[in-house]
């Protein structure tokens, strides 16, 4: 039990509220916070992506709704909320409606297990990394459900491509994460962050011993997220919209939302594993009050994640889509051997002595 928990229980007891209530709500409140924060983050992310793509292609991007187009995605979300939820008559109704729900749950949970600051992790188990791996692969199940239940050939193709893609990229991803676990000697994400504490500024970050791993994981995350150049499951020019062709209104919005939520969660995860998580890149924090330090730590984490998000968007603006064959070949023939090599390097560094990288 961490510091925040005690603060919360103490606060409740001061107002004569039973501890049991506190125990239950302590785990519910965070998810409400995430849900609220998520909306802001995703809406911001969509706007940032559209703005950046605009700049990359010498356009202005959205600039009509609100100052500098800030309210554009809000307006879009509102429009989607107002739209009719069409359920085509030949779909499998139950699975069709279940898929958007299922895609949302892992994304929320994944955001819950990220250590935002030293005392601020909603779900802190000793094997967070494993939990994260499961959650990251989970959306593909709902993508498959959506594709299958839609009873549409394009959706089916999207779903099948998505499955084969995730299957082939899951393995290198696991190996890379394993190398981080070896370096940090822990499966707890807070522990991994703390293992990157260093004497001089950012020298302890795992990106230095594991740069290869960082690149591989970055590529795997692109594939897992179905982002360009791995956007085959929803390749617009081939499969129209892939698995969510038949979805409309709020259900489509949920797919869209969870896609960006997952993008952000994965960026956070990558920042935690390789870029020192919430640690300050200067080795020290600017604020001295313990409460403000939490915010500063969260700020650093968000900044690092934003850089990764920027990279992902940059890649989308630059690269064409891979061919489906190359995609799988690239994973099994290039990424997998490299990730195993990366694991060996990590093991050697670990046992040759930590002094090498600190």
């Amino acid at each position: 039990m961490n510091y925040l928990y005690f603060l919360y229980i103490e606060f409740l007891q001061r107002h004569n509220i039973p501890k049991l209530f506190g125990d239950i709500t302590y785990y519910i409140i965070p998810f409400c916070i995430i849900a609220a924060a998520l909306l802001v983050v995703v809406l911001g992310l969509v706007l940032v992506e559209r703005k950046l793509l605009g700049f990359f292609t010498q356009r202005k991007g959205p600039n009509r709704v609100g100052w500098w187009g800030l309210l554009q995605t809000l307006a879009d979300a509102f429009k989607l909320l107002c739209k009719e939820n069409i359920t085509p008559c030949k779909v499998d109704r139950f699975l069709f409606n279940l898929a958007p729900v299922l895609v949302f749950i892992p994304m929320m949970t994944a955001l819950g297990i990220i250590p935002y600051s030293s005392e601020f992790t909603f779900v802190n188990t000793s094997t967070n990394v494993i939990l994260y791996l499961i959650l990251a692969a989970f959306p593909v199940l709902s993508i498959f459900l959506a594709g299958w239940a839609s009873n549409n050939k394009y959706s089916l193709f999207g779903a099948a491509r998505s499955i084969s893609q995730v299957l082939s990229y899951e393995l290198p991803m696991t190996f890379v994460i394993l190398s981080v676990v070896v370096l940090a000697s822990t499966m707890n994400l807070t522990g991994i962050t703390l293992a990157q504490t260093s004497l001089w500024r950012f020298s302890g970050w795992f990106i230095f011993p594991g740069f290869l791993g960082f690149v591989i994981l970055f590529i795997c995350i692109l594939a897992e997220l179905n982002r360009c150049p791995f956007d085959l499951p929803e390749a617009e020019s081939e499969l129209i919209c892939g698995y969510n062709t038949e979805y409309s209104g709020m259900r489509f919005a949920i797919f869209y939302l969870s896609e960006y939520g997952m993008l952000f969660a994965n960026s956070l995860f990558l920042a935690v594993l390789f870029l020192g998580g919430y640690l300050s890149p200067f080795g020290k924090y600017f604020f001295s009050s313990s409460f403000l330090i939490y915010f500063e730590q969260a700020f650093w984490l968000f900044l690092k994640a934003s850089i990764i998000v920027f990279l992902i968007i940059w890649i989308r603006a630059t690269l064409p889509r891979l061919a489906s064959f190359d995609l799988i070949k690239f994973s099994w023939a290039v990424l997998l051997p490299l990730s195993i090599l990366n694991l060996f390097i990590a093991v050697i560094i670990k046992f040759m002595g930590a002094g090498l990288c600190f």
Partner: protein, 363 residues
């Protein structure tokens, strides 16, 4: 166990069919077993319409046959009338027409580059190509009053004297500079090479057998460019691009190189026009225009292959029969053969590389 194949209906409303082409594909997994193109969703009855309209009434509509290269089709109709009446167009009109045709060719190829890369999943080149094409369209708008349906060539000349030549100079200098940028973002991109190299190989014999003309034919190694025989291009130093391999990448390369050749032709036209005097032309009076009895035929090298127009006149105000030949129409027919055995995402790249435009197919 019985093996069932999947019938996929690609189009007519599909993001990558560039209009309303419908391909009935039979798939085994993602592999295409057979392809049956179905056209006609954009049919406007251009040939039937001609039989009811006088020549000058018909002239504005022919730009719509290919909305990306409208000048070529109005040039064809003008040429038919000029041929039938035995009119020699003035030298300056000829050069103006060459200049505008080549500019139009560049704008058409630029759009194709953007759309092709969009098919391959790259977003940015689409906007870059459109940005450069926009300059050309702005110039056309300034000159003719229209961005796409120009109606600028008339029987015996052009509607008004050419102007804003310094803008053309600016366009060609910017476009030739930007072509190098395209090389950097497109041609040097390994994913692009993987997607296009050795994909959809079209050999010489097949190309000729399927009546493929234009850039697609030249990318397959046949040195056939109608501009060399065209009297419109008399006196111009024309370079043509003949490449050997005939795959999707070669077709891309041939188009970018052809833009460079077109720029050279425009330079020559500009040199002439800058020194030339004010335009003096004698236009045909379109009221009561009747072509003498007989068959008339005219060809032109359009961006999407050889385009030609056939007119049979019985000495009436309207043609008795008017027939268009368009390049894309035969490229669509080629898809039956070219797509078989390819994977779905390669198929999109291949059909994109042929530069099919649907209004030209459906007429």
């Amino acid at each position: 166990m019985t093996i069932t194949t999947l019938k996929l209906n690609l189009g007519p409303q599909h993001p990558s069919t560039h209009g309303v082409l419908r391909l009935l594909l039979e798939l085994d997994g993602e592999k295409i077993l057979s392809c049956e193109p179905d056209i006609g969703y954009l049919h406007r009855g251009m040939e039937k319409m001609a039989e009811k309209l006088s020549y000058i009434q018909y002239l504005p509509t022919v730009d719509r046959i290919d909305y990306l290269a409208g000048f070529f089709y109005s040039e064809l109709l003008c040429r038919i009338v000029e041929k039938a009446l035995g009119i020699e167009i003035p030298e300056k009109v000829r050069v103006i027409r060459v200049l505008l045709l080549e500019l139009n060719r560049i704008s058409s190829h630029l759009l194709w580059i953007g759309a092709f890369l969009m098919d391959l999943g790259a977003v940015s080149p689409f906007f870059y190509a459109f940005r450069d094409r926009e300059m050309i369209l702005r110039y056309f708008e300034k000159l003719t009053g229209q961005r796409m349906m120009y109606n600028y060539f008339v029987f015996g000349g052009v509607r008004r004297d050419i102007d804003f030549l310094e803008e053309v100079e600016n366009i060609i200098s910017v476009v030739s500079e930007k072509l190098n940028d395209y090389d950097k973002i497109i041609t040097e991109n390994p994913i692009f090479l993987r997607r296009t190299l050795n994909k959809g190989i079209l050999d010489k014999e097949t190309a000729l057998n399927y009546s493929i003309t234009g850039v697609n034919l030249r990318a397959s190694g046949v040195d056939f460019d109608y501009r060399f025989q065209d009297c419109l291009y008399k006196g111009f130093d024309i370079g043509t691009v003949v490449l050997e391999k005939g795959d999707a990448f070669t077709r891309y390369q041939a188009r970018t190189l052809e833009i460079k050749e077109s720029i050279k032709i425009i330079r020559q036209a500009l040199d002439y026009l800058k020194k030339s005097a004010k335009l003096e032309q004698k236009l045909v009076n379109p009221v009561n225009l009747k072509l003498p009895e007989g068959d008339y035929y005219a060809d032109i090298e359009a961006p999407r292959g050889l385009a030609s127009c056939f007119v049979r006149s019985l000495g009436e105000k309207e043609p008795y029969r008017l027939k268009w030949r368009t390049g894309s129409y035969y490229s669509v027919n080629l898809l039956r053969k070219l797509l078989v055995g390819e994977f779905l995402n390669d198929a999109i790249a291949i059909s994109g590389s042929l530069d099919i435009i649907l209004p030209e197919v459906d007429k």
